[in-house]
C-alpha cells in the first residue's frame, strides 16, 4: 500500500473554551478527491489551517507525506487556495504566478502553460483588477498547481461561482487528481460537490461525523423515498385509505418508504387504475443526507 499523503490522528484544536476541531482522524491517499463538508463554523478552515501548520493543535498529530505540517518539506508538497484571496489589483496574472513560482522554487517558465490550463492565456497580461470572480478563482487555482504538488487544499473554492464556472473548476480538479495529487476541498453544501469527489467527509461542531463515498453515505442514511400520488379526482381520502399514505391536500397523498419497498408501492399505486392521475418519486436529496448526518451529531452532542 502507498503512503498516505495526509494523515490526521485524533486532532483537537481549541480557541479558549471553544473546541473548533474535536478528535478528528482521517487519511487521504494519492489521487483521491475528498470533500470536506460542513456549515460555517463547523471547523473546516481551522482543520485546513492546522494542516498548513498555521495553527498548533492541542492534541493529536498531522503528517503530510511523513513531514510535520508547516515544515519546509511539507510546504513544498502542499498547495493551498484560501477561501477569500484578493491578489494585488495592480499586478497581472503572469506577474502573480511568476512571483509564486519563485517563492516555491519553481521555474517561472511553466507560467504560460498554467495560465492556458485554467483558460487565462489571453487575460494573463491584463491586471487582476479587471478579472471577473471566476477568473480570479481560476488564477488562484493556477497558483495552487505550480510545481505539481502532492496535496492540494482548496478552501471553499466554488462558493460564489456560477454553475458553468463551477463545472469548469471541477474539471480542473479532476485533472489534478488524475496526475496523482490528493485533493481536499471544503464546501458548505454537499450538493455542490456531487459526483465531483471520491469521498465525502462531513464535519459538524468540530467532529467528523461521516467519512465514506457518497453512495455509501446515501445507503447508510436510510432516508425514505417520497412518493407523491395525485388523484384524478377529489379522491385523496380514498387513495390515502387504500395505500396507507398521508393526505397533503384534497388531491394528493404522500407515502414515505425505504428504497427496497419502492417497487411494491408503485405496483399498489398502479393497481388503483384511473383513480390516480400522476405519481412523483423523489429520492432523498444530498442536502437531506447532509442534514441526516449533522442532525445525528446534534442529538449526540447535547
Amino acid at each position: 500500500m502507498t503512503e498516505s499523503v495526509l494523515s490526521i490522528k485524533n486532532l483537537t484544536k481549541r480557541f479558549g473554551r471553544q473546541t473548533a476541531v474535536d478528535g478528528v482522524s482521517f487519511h487521504i491517499e494519492p489521487g483521491e478527491r475528498a470533500a470536506l463538508i460542513g456549515h460555517n463554523g463547523a471547523g473546516k478552515t481551522t482543520l485546513i489551517k492546522s494542516i498548513l501548520g498555521f495553527l498548533t493543535p492541542e492534541e493529536g498529530s498531522i503528517s503530510v507525506l511523513g513531514n510535520a505540517p508547516g515544515s519546509n518539506a511539507a510546504r513544498r508538497s502542499v498547495a493551498y487556495l484560501p477561501e477569500a484571496v484578493a491578489f494585488q489589483k495592480a499586478l497581472t496574472g503572469v506577474e502573480i504566478l511568476t512571483f509564486f513560482s519563485r517563492l516555491k522554487g519553481e521555474d517561472p517558465k511553466t507560467v504560460p502553460g498554467l495560465l492556458e490550463k485554467v483558460g487565462l492565456s489571453e487575460a494573463g497580461r491584463r491586471r487582476v483588477g479587471t478579472y471577473s470572480k471566476g477568473m480570479r478563482q481560476r488564477l488562484g487555482l493556477a497558483q495552487a498547481l505550480i510545481g505539481e504538488p502532492s496535496l492540494v487544499l482548496l478552501d471553499e473554492p466554488t462558493s460564489g461561482l456560477d454553475p458553468v464556472s463551477r463545472q469548469d473548476f471541477y474539471m480542473l480538479v479532476e485533472e489534478v487528481a488524475a496526475r496523482g495529487a490528493a485533493v481536499l476541498l471544503s464546501s458548505h453544501a454537499l450538493s455542490e460537490v456531487e459526483a465531483k469527489t471520491d469521498r465525502v467527509l462531513i464535519m459538524a461542531h468540530g467532529k467528523l461525523v461521516a467519512d465514506d463515498t457518497l453512495a455509501s453515505l446515501r445507503r447508510a442514511a436510510r432516508l425514505p423515498i417520497r412518493l407523491r400520488v395525485q388523484g384524478a379526482d377529489v379522491a385523496a381520502d380514498e387513495i390515502a385509505a387504500r395505500l396507507g399514505g398521508m393526505r397533503v391536500n384534497c388531491r394528493s397523498v404522500e407515502i414515505f418508504c425505504d428504497a427496497d419497498e419502492k417497487l411494491a408501492h408503485l405496483a399498489a399505486i398502479s393497481a388503483l387504475g384511473s383513480l390516480v392521475e400522476d405519481v412523483e418519486v423523489t429520492l432523498p436529496s444530498l442536502d437531506d443526507v447532509y442534514r441526516h448526518f449533522t442532525g445525528v451529531d446534534a442529538k449526540k452532542g447535547s
Binding site: 498555521f54 495553527l55 510546504r75 493551498y80 484578493a86 517563492l103 522554487g105
Partner: protein, 276 residues
C-alpha cells in the same frame, strides 16, 4: 533563499512603479527640493559659501519631514495588507520564512525610496550644476545627503513594519503610521525643547538630552548632516548643538543603524507570532 527574497523585493518594486507611488514620491521630493534650492539660495549669493552646500543644509531639514513620511506610508501596508487581502495565507504556506519575507519587503521598499531620492534630489543637484552653482564639494554634500536620507528611510521602514504587524489591519496600521510620524518628527523635538528650557542646563541637558537625540533616527539624521556640513555657522539652531555633544557626529549614524536593526528584530518577532 535569495530567489525568494528577491521575488518579494522585485514584486514590491513593481507595485511601487505600477501604482505610481514611486512617481509621486519623486515628484514631491523634486518639487520641494527645487523650491528650496532656487528660492532659498537667493540671500546666500553673497556669503561666499557654496550654493550647493547651503541647499543641502535646507534639504536635510526637508528630509527629516518627508523621508519618514514616505517610508511609513510604504511600510504600513506591508504585512497588514497581505493579511487583509488573504495573500498572507498563500505566501506563508509556500516555502518562504517570515524573516525572508520581511527582508524582501524591506529591500523592495528601500529601492523605491532610494530611486525617489536619487531622482528627486539628483534633479535639484543637476539644476544647480547647470546654472553654475555647483562644485565638487557640493556634489559630495549631495551624495552624503542622499545616502543618509536613504538610511533614515530604512529606519522608518522598519518602524512601519512594526506598526503593520502589530495591528494586522491596514486601516489601524495607517493611523498608527501617521501617529508615529507626528511623534517622531514634530512632538519629540517639541518635548525635548520644552524639557531643555525647563531644566535650564541641569542633568537632563547634559546627560539625557544627547542620548535622546540619538534615540530618534530623525534627530540623529539632522545632527549628523548639519555637523558634517559644518553648517552651524550657516544655519545655527540645532546644528550648534553638535559641538557641545559628548560624542562625534558619526555616532549619530551608528545610532540610526542600531535603531533600524532593533526595529527589524521587533517587526520580525511580531511577524513570527502572526497566524495568518
Amino acid at each position: 533563499m535569495f530567489t525568494r527574497i528577491l521575488a518579494v523585493a522585485s514584486l514590491e518594486m513593481r507595485i511601487g512603479l505600477r501604482n505610481r507611488w514611486l512617481l509621486l514620491a519623486t515628484l514631491i521630493l523634486a518639487a520641494f527640493s527645487l523650491a528650496l534650492a532656487l528660492l532659498g539660495s537667493a540671500p546666500a549669493g553673497t556669503l561666499g559659501v557654496d550654493r550647493m552646500t547651503i541647499t543641502v543644509a535646507s534639504l536635510a531639514s526637508l528630509s527629516v519631514y518627508l523621508v519618514p513620511l514616505l517610508s511609513l506610508l510604504l511600510a504600513f501596508d506591508a504585512i497588514s495588507g497581505e493579511i487583509d487581502r488573504g495573500t498572507a495565507l498563500l505566501i506563508f504556506s509556500s516555502p518562504i520564512s517570515r524573516v525572508e519575507f520581511l527582508l524582501g519587503k524591506a529591500i523592495g521598499h528601500f529601492a523605491v525610496i532610494l530611486i525617489a531620492l536619487l531622482l528627486g534630489y539628483g534633479l535639484t543637484a543637476g539644476v544647480l550644476v547647470a546654472f553654475g552653482g555647483g562644485s565638487l564639494a557640493g556634489l559630495v554634500d549631495f551624495a552624503r545627503l542622499i545616502a543618509t536620507s536613504a538610511m533614515l528611510g530604512l529606519a522608518f521602514l522598519a518602524i512601519g513594519y512594526i506598526a503593520s504587524s502589530a495591528t494586522r489591519a491596514p486601516g489601524t496600521a495607517a493611523a498608527l503610521a501617521i501617529g508615529i510620524w507626528l511623534f517622531a518628527v514634530v512632538l519629540y523635538d517639541l518635548a525635548l525643547l520644552g524639557a531643555l528650557v525647563a531644566d535650564n542646563g541641569g542633568t537632563f541637558s547634559r546627560s539625557v538630552f544627547p542620548l535622546a537625540l540619538l534615540a530618534n533616527p530623525a534627530d540623529a539624521f539632522r545632527l549628523f548632516n548639519l555637523a558634517a556640513l559644518g553648517a552651524s555657522d550657516l544655519v545655527g539652531g540645532m546644528a550648534g548643538v553638535s559641538d557641545a555633544l559628548p560624542y562625534p557626529p558619526s555616532a549619530a549614524l551608528a545610532a540610526i543603524a542600531g535603531v533600524t536593526l532593533a526595529a527589524f528584530a521587533a517587526a520580525a518577532a511580531l511577524l513570527k507570532r502572526i497566524e495568518p
